[in-house]
């Protein structure tokens, strides 16, 4: 039996001859991880993972291997910014962990909290907090995610972007999805509060752009006017830029991915 198989959505009972048994699926996972490292072809790898997951589902296999498959697929989806696929894996993982299957529960709990920050889903955040044990709460990755949530909730952009810089595991990939939204929110706040001007170097540092060039591109992309300062530098005029900063933030008022917002 071949290790690889393309994904087809089932519309009738699966053909047993085409379903790979667990022993084959274990080899498939090894092969897929090897190929991902070598080729990084996401279209191929995602299709193969979906087919792998389907074979597990039709055989009702829910064990530590199933967890590993979903975890690996979730990580790859995060790396490739495929949040839809990541969310599917996350939902399955939540169920599997709930059934007592062992896995990287703390790492994925942290991602889940960050994901809820992205979707601004307070009820799920409440639920995650309600079901969290003391051990989970103080695990480094979970603690980081909770601090991100607290900084985000209180509008403390300085702390938020400090935490963005030091996100453990693949948390930064997830935070990438809402970093620009939070940059716009922070920029709106800064434009409202600072007078007369805010230096570009200061904005670049505070909002974790990594370089002034990236910061300038971001500001240009959002039509934020930039002025030259008397000392030869560049700055944003808070009062003049505020309407543009407001308009930039409005683009993020809705999240276009499955996730409850209220």
């Amino acid at each position: 039996m071949t290790l690889e198989k393309n994904f087809f959505r089932l519309t009738s009972d699966p053909d047993p001859a085409k379903v790979r048994p667990l022993s084959v699926l274990r080899q498939t996972l090894k092969l897929l991880m090897k190929k991902w490292k070598a080729e990084s072809n996401y279209t191929y790898i995602c299709d193969q993972f979906k087919s792998l997951r389907q074979d597990l589902t039709v055989q009702h296999i829910a064990n530590e291997f199933t967890v590993e498959v979903y975890e690996q697929h979730a990580r790859i989806a995060l790396e490739t910014k495929d949040l839809g696929e990541y969310n599917q894996c996350q939902t399955q993982l939540k169920q599997l962990y709930g059934q007592g299957q062992p896995g990287k529960t703390l790492e994925f709990l942290a991602y889940r909290i960050l994901y809820y920050v992205y979707t601004r889903n307070r009820s799920e955040l409440n639920e995650a907090l309600a079901t969290m044990t003391e051990t989970e709460r103080f695990a480094p990755a979970v603690d980081h995610a909770l601090r991100v949530r607290a900084a985000w909730a209180s509008g403390n952009y300085h702390r938020f972007f400090e935490l963005y810089r030091i996100a453990p595991n693949m948390g930064a990939f997830l935070m990438d999805h809402f970093a620009d939204r939070e940059r716009c929110a922070a920029l709106r706040t800064m434009c409202k509060a600072y007078r007369p001007t805010i230096k570009i170097s200061f904005i670049a540092h505070e909002l974790a752009f990594g370089s002034t060039k990236k910061c300038l591109k971001f500001l240009a992309d959002h039509s934020i006017p930039i002025i030259d300062t008397s000392d030869g530098g560049m700055a944003v005029d808070g009062k003049a830029a505020y309407p543009s900063a407001m308009a930039a933030m409005q683009k993020f008022e809705k999240v276009d991915i499955k996730g409850q917002i209220y």
Partner: protein, 414 residues
């Protein structure tokens, strides 16, 4: 003629048929009872009946006959069923009742509807508790309650002779289930459908109004619509009779939170009168003092309690910024002593105060600026930051507007 038939079942079937034909809702509500004691007693009297089909013949209306059979089956099996089987039986009763209730002009069945809705919630609660905190049964119950609410609200008859009379009760239960399972869509739908129906609340009993207001107050609180939460919870609190001390206490727990976020703090007398947990008093004290660290320590120490109330995140997320506002106001007041106004506050004073309030000596100027700019942006403070001069320049008029007057971002004001 009736030889071999169970006389109790026969009598129930005949009474049900009569009540249905006479459209006697009160009689039917007395017949279809779901209390534990009654069901257990009745169940033992009909335990030998295998099939209720022969008794259904006494009832002419087919959907009603099916509903009666479903009820009798539920009653018969109740005492030897586990929590999961009881819920399934109750779901079946509810499913059989909806076609009975749906045709126009059946407003007289509202009392039966209320009994079924209440029982649905109870069995779901018991099953999920038995399943160690699962929410599956609540989800099932919510789906039936939603169908009931749709049926109630789609009635074209006018109050009081209308199925609308069951709306607040069912919608309140639905919101309660939503809050319990932390899934808001059923509550969103219930609240918005009741609002769209434009019901005249004066037709409803005070109990229905108060209960509904309490649950939607809690719903608004979770949705961060604090003014709306304040409005509904305050109504519920004032409408609740003084002798219902337990209810007053439950409402106050949430009203205190809704009000705190809007800068309205209760008196010590009020908290003592209704025996509100001392932890609220401590939180209010530290909130007033601007003691961020002490406030958050108490909150974390009582995390389980506040999580059970659904107010942990709200308190954690929304109070910090307000306490920094209070700290900043104190700094201004100290600096303004002896002068009429003090408009320019050096960063160093703000930083020292914030470090003390948060018990975080590592807080630096950029973090302090980030907090103050959030306060300015959210209009809790009127003024501007002058980064180069390391100064906060406060506005010439209202520098610290009352919290209750500040419109929260994202429409959270309610």
């Amino acid at each position: 003629m009736n030889g071999g038939l169970n006389q109790v079942v026969l009598s129930i079937a005949q009474s049900a048929s009569e009540g249905f034909m006479l459209e006697d809702g009160d009689a039917l509500a007395s017949l279809f009872v779901f209390s534990d004691t009654v069901i257990t007693q009745l169940g033992s009297a009909i335990s030998n009946v295998q099939d209720f089909a022969p008794y259904q013949a006494a009832i002419l209306d087919e959907p009603f006959a099916r509903f009666t059979a479903a009820y009798l089956t539920y009653v018969r099996d109740y005492s030897h069923s586990d929590a999961s089987q009881r819920s399934k039986g109750m779901y079946h009763v509810a499913d059989m009742f909806i076609p009975v209730f749906s045709p126009p002009g059946r407003h007289w069945l509202v009392r039966v509807l209320r009994s079924i809705a209440a029982s649905l919630y109870q069995v779901a609660q018991i099953e999920d508790r038995a399943e160690m905190g699962s929410s599956a049964a609540h989800v099932q119950a919510a789906s039936r309650l939603q169908s009931m609410l749709m049926s109630v609200l789609s009635d074209r008859d006018q109050l009081p002779e209308s199925k609308h009379m069951g709306a607040l009760f069912v919608a309140g239960l639905l919101v309660r289930v939503s809050l319990k399972i932390g899934a808001m869509p059923p509550a969103h739908a219930a609240v918005s459908n009741v609002a769209k129906a434009g019901l005249d609340f004066a037709y409803f009993s005070l109990r229905d109004q108060m209960t509904y207001k309490y649950w939607i107050g809690r719903y608004y609180l979770v949705c961060y619509r604090f003014e709306a939460a304040h409005r509904e919870l305050e109504y519920a609190f004032n409408a609740c009779p003084a002798y219902h001390e337990h209810n007053k206490h439950a409402i106050l727990r949430h009203l205190v939170v809704a009000n705190m976020i809007r800068g309205r703090l209760p008196t010590h007398y009020l908290l003592t009168k209704y025996d509100v947990e001392p932890v609220y008093g401590f939180l209010i004290h530290h909130f007033r003092q601007g003691n961020v660290a002490a406030f958050q320590t108490i909150l974390m120490d009582n995390m389980e309690f506040f999580r059970s109330q659904g107010t942990f995140l709200i308190l954690y997320e929304r109070t910090e910024i307000l306490m920094y506002r209070n700290v900043l106001k104190k700094v201004r007041n100290i600096l303004a002593e002896g002068t009429q106004q003090h408009r320019a506050i050096p960063y160093k004073h703000i930083l020292t105060a914030f470090q003390m309030a948060s018990r975080n000596p590592n807080m630096d100027v950029p973090e302090m600026e980030s907090i103050v700019s959030s306060l300015i942006s959210q209009k809790y403070v009127h003024g501007y930051l002058f980064h180069h001069q390391q100064l906060l320049n406060l506005g010439s008029k209202t520098q610290f507007p009352p919290i209750k007057d500040v419109i929260l971002p994202g429409g959270f004001e309610g």
